[in-house]
Symmetry: D2
C-alpha cells in the first residue's frame, strides 16, 4: 500500500528491457547515440512538432531549471503558482541555474493559477523601471502539485496572458502524461498549440527509471540549452540509457497507457474513500493525486497496517488530537486494485 | 517643493567641507586611510560596541546585499517584509550577491512585520528537508518603506523570533537615523542590544553624498565581508572620501540632528495636511515619510506649481477620475518650513 | 575496435542484473533506499573509513563540481593541472557551482603536477590581500587525463604541499579504480591515508551505467553537500538504481577486476604498438589510456577499417600531410584481445 | 614622494569645485540628473560617437566587470593578458558578475598581448564542442599593468583577431587618458575606430574622486547594462556627483592635461633614474608607470626618507640580500618636479 509518491514505484518492464537491449557493445556518448535520433523522431511525431529541439536529462528539477535558465535573464522574475515545485521543492535550483532570478508567486487555492491572478502578478512587477526585477517567463505546472489539471482552454487563457506581456511560457510536465490522460487532449494541444514554448516532459514519475525530455518547440535556444546542460553537469556520457528509456516510454503509447492506469487507480481510490463518512476530499481528484481529510484513528489503522502516504498538516502522534489529518495519496502505474481496496477498507475502519 | 525622496537632496555643508579637507595630497587607498581609523572609533563609540567591525560602501543596496551575502548560504531563504527594499527595489541584487538565495516575504499592512507573521513564515519554510530552501537570516528595515518605525520592544520581539530558530538578524538602516530620532532610543538599543547582528547604517538619504556603513557587531565574518566587498567591486581606492563623509556625519551628532530635522519637517507637513478636509493619512507618520490620499484636483494644483512627489496608485492624468490618489512624500534634512507650508496650502486648495 | 573512450563501453552484466533486481516494487526515494545503506557500508569498508559520508550522483562532472563547491568559497581559486578535466572538459561547471571561483592552472607536461610546481602556483596566488583571489582547494586527478598515474608517495608529496598552506584536497577519481589497479596500493592509501579529503570515486567509465560516489572522509560538510546536490538537480528520486549500480560495482571487488582488465588491455595494446617502427609513445602508458604518434597513412588504414579513437593534433584529412598524428586510445573493461591485436596490425600496415 | 599608485593622489581642484557647484538643492536621482545629459554629450563629442550609450560608475572594477558581464555568457571564456587587472586584482569579480565565465590568459612579457598569442589562445579554446567553454569577449588593457602602451596599429591588429572569430572587444581604460597622451592618437582612434566595442574610460586614477564611464559604442546592450548596474548595486542615487566629476574631467580637455602631466612626470623620473649606474629599467616607460631594479641599499635610503612605492620581487628587509629589488613607481597628475628629483637623488645615493 504505497501511496507516498509516484517517484518511488517500479520501472515498467518494457523500459527495463529497452535498457538491457541498449547495452550492446559501444555507443557514441553524450547524446550522439543512434537511439537519440529515434527519440527525437518519436517526440516530434508525438507532439506534431517537426522542428522541435529535444534533449534528455535524468531529473525533473534539471529539466525545469535548465529550461527556465535558458528562457530567462538573471535580472528577471519568473511567474509561477505559490505551490509550484520550482518554488517549494527544488532548494533554490531555479535561482541557482538562472543566475539569481526571482520567483513571483501567483496566489492559488489548488495550485491552479487563474488568468486574473496571473495578470495581476505580472502587472505588479516590472513597474519600477531599473529598480525592480523585470518580467520573465511564466511557468505552469500540469498536473499541478495539488493534483488538479488545466484543461486546454484554461491553459490557453494563461498563455494568452503571457503573450500580452510578450513573456515566454514553460510547462512543468513532470506529470504531463497524467494531464493528457485526464483531459483526452492531444500532446500538441496540451503544449505548443496552447502557447507553451518549452515543455519539461516527464518520464520518471510514470514508469521510467530517471529520464525527462526538454522540448523546445522553437529551436532557437537549442545550443544555449546544450551548453547549460553540460555546465550543469547534466550531460550523460552513457546517454543511450536515457534514450532507451524515453524511446520505450514513447513506443506504442506506453507513456499514455501508464498514466491512464495511474489516473484510474486514483479514481478507484477516490470512489472508495468518498463513500466513507467523515472523510472529506480537499481537491477534486482529476489525475493521480488525492488529498483528503479523515480522523486520526483511521490514519493510525492505516499506518499500523503499513500504508505509506504523507500527512500534510500534522503528525500522526501529535497532540492536536481532535483535528482531522489531511492525507496526500499518489497512485503510480503499478498500483493494484487489491491494495487500493485494502487501503479504502482500512480508512473506513 | 521637492518631496519625492530623501535621496535627491543636497549634501550637508559640513560633509562637503570634510571632503574638501580630506583632499590634501596623498592618502593610503582601499580603506587604509587614517580617516577610516577615526570612523571606526566614532562608530564603536556611537554604538557602544568596541569590538565591532566597520566597513564603508557607497550605496544602500551594496550595504544590504553584501551584509546578507555574508550572513547567508545560497541554499537558504532570507525572511523580510513583503514591502522590503531588498525585495522590491534592488533588481535581484540580494539573489545575485547571495549566489541564489531566496527571499520569503512576510505579509504586512504597513511594512512592519509582526512576531506572529515572522514566526509563521519561518515555520512554513525549512520543513521539506533537503528539498526546500533552508532557513536563513531575518532582514528588518527601520524606518520601514511605509515610513513606520519599530520601537525597541518591537524590534526585540522580532529578533527573539529569529533567535528561537538560531537565525542571524540584519537591519536595513538606510533611515536608521530617522528611527533613532523618532524613538529616542540609543543607537545601541536600536541595534545590537535589541538583537541585531549586522547593521546597514545609512548616510546617503540623510545628508551625505554617498556613504553607508556596514557594522558587524560580532567581527567573526569581517574578512569574508572584505572579500565580498572587493569581489562586488565596492571597494573604493580613494576611500578617504567615504571616510570623510562618514566622519563628518558622525561628528557632534550631525547624523541625529539631520534626521531630527527631517522628522520635524514631516511632522509639520502632516499637521498641515491633516487639517485638510477630504485628505486621509494612510499610515501614521512616525519618521520622515508620509502617505496620504486626496482628490485629483489638488494633486493637479500641486503639480502645476512644481511640487515633486510620487503618486502610488495611478497617474495624475489617468482616467479613473473619481478616485483619490495616494501621495508618498519624503522630507529630507533640508526641507524648509516655507516649502512645507506652501505645499500644504496648495493641497488645501 | 572502439578506443575512443571508456565512457562509451557496455555496462557490466552484474551491474545490469543488480539494477533489474532493484526493480522490485516500491522503494524509498531520494537516497533513503535500503540499498544505499549497503553502499555506504561497502564504501566505508573498502576505504577503511568508518566515518565517511558517502553520496551518489550520476555524472563525473557532478561529483567533481559539487565536491569542489562544498570545499571552496567563491572568492577563492582552485589549484589544478593545466590538463585537468575540471578545466578543459566541464564547460565552466566548477566556476558555476562554486559561485565564481577561479581555477589556477599548474603547468605540467603529462598532466601530473609536481610538488614544486604546485607550491609555486600556490605561492603566486594569495599575495595581493583582498585584491586577488584567496587560496582554495587543490584538485588532483588520478589517473590523469594523459593516462599517467600518481603513486602513493607522489600523491602524499602533493597533499603535503596543500597542508603547508592549510588547503583542502579533492581527488578527481573518475578513473580511481585504474589508478589502484596500476599501483597496487589500497583504496585508503590512494585517498585519505595520502591526505585526500574528498574523493570523486568513478563508476561510469569502468563498467557502470552512470554512477559516481562522492566520499567525504571527514563528514563535517556532509549536510551542505546534500543541499548543494539537491540545488544542483542531482538528487535522484529513484535513487535505488544508483545504489544498485554502486553496490554491484563494489561487490566482490568487481570495480578492481574491471579496472585491471582495462589496464591489461591497454598494456597489450602498448606492447603491440611499440613494436611498430615509426611509432612513438608520448606518455608511458600506466593505466588504460595511451597516446602515440604515427604516420598518417596508418591512421587512414585504421579509420577505413572502422577503428574509433581521437586524433589530438590535427585532422585525418588535413593538409599538414607530413606530420605524424597523435592518437589517444582508451581501453575499457570490455576491450577484446582480438580487437586490440587487429588494431595493432592495422597500425603496423 | 608618493609613487605607490595614481589612485591615492588628490582630486583636481576643478573637479572638487564642480562637485561643490552640483550641491545646489535637489536633483533627480539615479542618473536622471541634468548634468548627466551634459556628460553624455561631452563623451559623444570627445569620442566622435553620437550614438554611444554612456554610463557612470564609481570604481574601475565595476566598469570592467559590468561591461564584460554584458558582453559575455556564463559558458564562455574571456581572453585577456596574463597580467590583466581583471585577472589579478579584482578578486574574481569578473567570474562573479558574468555568472561564472572563465578567463583564458594570453601569455605576455610586458602585459601587451601580441596578435599571434591572442589568436593562439582563441584557437586553443572552443575546440571541444559542448564540453569546453565557448569563446567569449577579448579584453585589452591600455595603458597596460606594466606601463606599456598599445599604439593604434597594435590595437587594430588585436581587434582584427577578435573580429576573425566574431568576438566582441572590451578595453579596460583605467588609464585610457595616459594612453591617449602617450600616443597622440584621438580618443576615437584609440577606441571604436580601432575596433573596440565597449570602453571602461577611467577618471579615478587621473584626478577624479571616483568615477568611470562605460561607453557602449553600439547601444544595443544599453538597457541590459543598466539592469546589471542596478543589480550590482552600482547605481548611485545622488548620481549628480558622479556626473559633476566626469563633466569637469572632460571640460576643456582637463582629462588629457592631467594625463599629459602624469606621463611627463614619469618621463622625468625615468630620465633621472636611468642616469644612475646599477639601475636597470624593466619595461620602457611609455606612460605614467615605471618598473626598475636597483640595489637594496638605495631602496633602504628611499624608504628611510619616506618614499612610497611597491617592491615587486621581495621585501626590503628580506634575506636575499644580494638581489636587486624591482620597484614599481606610478606618477599621478600631482607629482612635483621637486619630489621626483629628490627621489632620483636618493636612489642615486
Amino acid at each position: 500500500m504505497f501511496f507516498a509518491s509516484d517517484n518511488a514505484g517500479p520501472v515498467h518492464p518494457e523500459i527495463m528491457d529497452a535498457m538491457a537491449r541498449a547495452n550492446n557493445g559501444y555507443a557514441m556518448p553524450y547524446g550522439a547515440d543512434a537511439l537519440m535520433d529515434q527519440v527525437r523522431a518519436q517526440i516530434r511525431e508525438t507532439f506534431e512538432a517537426p522542428e522541435a529541439a529535444v534533449y534528455l536529462v535524468a531529473t525533473g528539477t534539471a529539466a525545469n531549471v535548465l529550461a527556465l535558465a535558458t528562457l530567462s535573464q538573471p535580472f528577471q522574475t519568473i511567474f509561477c503558482s505559490n505551490r509550484a515545485h520550482i518554488h517549494e521543492d527544488e532548494c533554490n535550483a531555479p535561482e541557482f541555474f538562472s543566475g539569481g532570478a526571482k520567483l513571483t508567486l501567483v496566489p492559488t487555492n489548488d495550485a491552479k493559477m487563474t488568468p486574473h491572478n496571473l495578470r495581476k502578478a505580472i502587472i505588479s512587477e516590472g513597474t519600477r523601471g531599473v529598480h525592480g526585477p523585470q518580467r520573465g517567463p511564466v511557468s505552469i505546472t500540469n498536473v499541478t502539485e495539488c493534483g488538479t489539471v488545466y484543461s486546454v482552454p484554461e491553459l490557453r487563457a494563461l498563455t494568452q496572458v503571457a503573450r500580452e506581456f510578450d513573456l515566454p511560457v514553460h510547462l512543468d510536465g513532470a506529470r504531463f502524461a497524467n494531464a493528457v490522460a485526464a483531459t483526452g487532449a492531444s500532446p500538441a494541444e496540451m503544449s505548443w498549440k496552447s502557447g507553451v514554448d518549452v515543455l519539461s516532459f516527464g518520464g520518471t514519475k510514470n514508469g521510467a527509471m530517471g529520464v525527462e525530455a526538454v522540448i523546445f518547440f522553437d529551436p532557437k535556444h537549442a545550443w544555449e540549452f546544450e551548453l547549460r546542460r553540460k555546465r550543469g553537469a547534466h550531460l550523460f556520457s552513457k546517454h543511450r540509457f536515457l534514450s532507451a528509456q524515453m524511446s520505450a516510454y514513447l513506443n506504442d503509447g506506453l507513456w499514455l497507457d501508464l498514466a491512464t492506469r495511474a489516473n484510474a487507480a486514483n479514481a478507484r481510490l477516490a470512489r472508495g474513500l468518498k463513500s466513507i463518512e467523515n472523510l472529506e476530499y480537499v481537491h477534486e481528484p482529476q489525475a493521480n493525486i488525492s488529498f483528503a481529510k479523515w480522523p486520526r484513528a483511521s490514519h493510525r489503522r492505516l499506518h499500523d497496517a503499513g500504508a505509506m502516504y504523507y500527512i500534510m498538516n500534522g503528525q500522526l502522534n501529535g497532540d492536536n488530537l481532535g483535528c482531522a489529518l489531511m492525507a496526500r495519496m499518489v497512485c503510480d502505474w503499478s498500483a493494484t486494485n487489491e491494495n487500493i481496496d485494502r487501503f479504502t477498507e482500512l480508512a473506513r475502519g
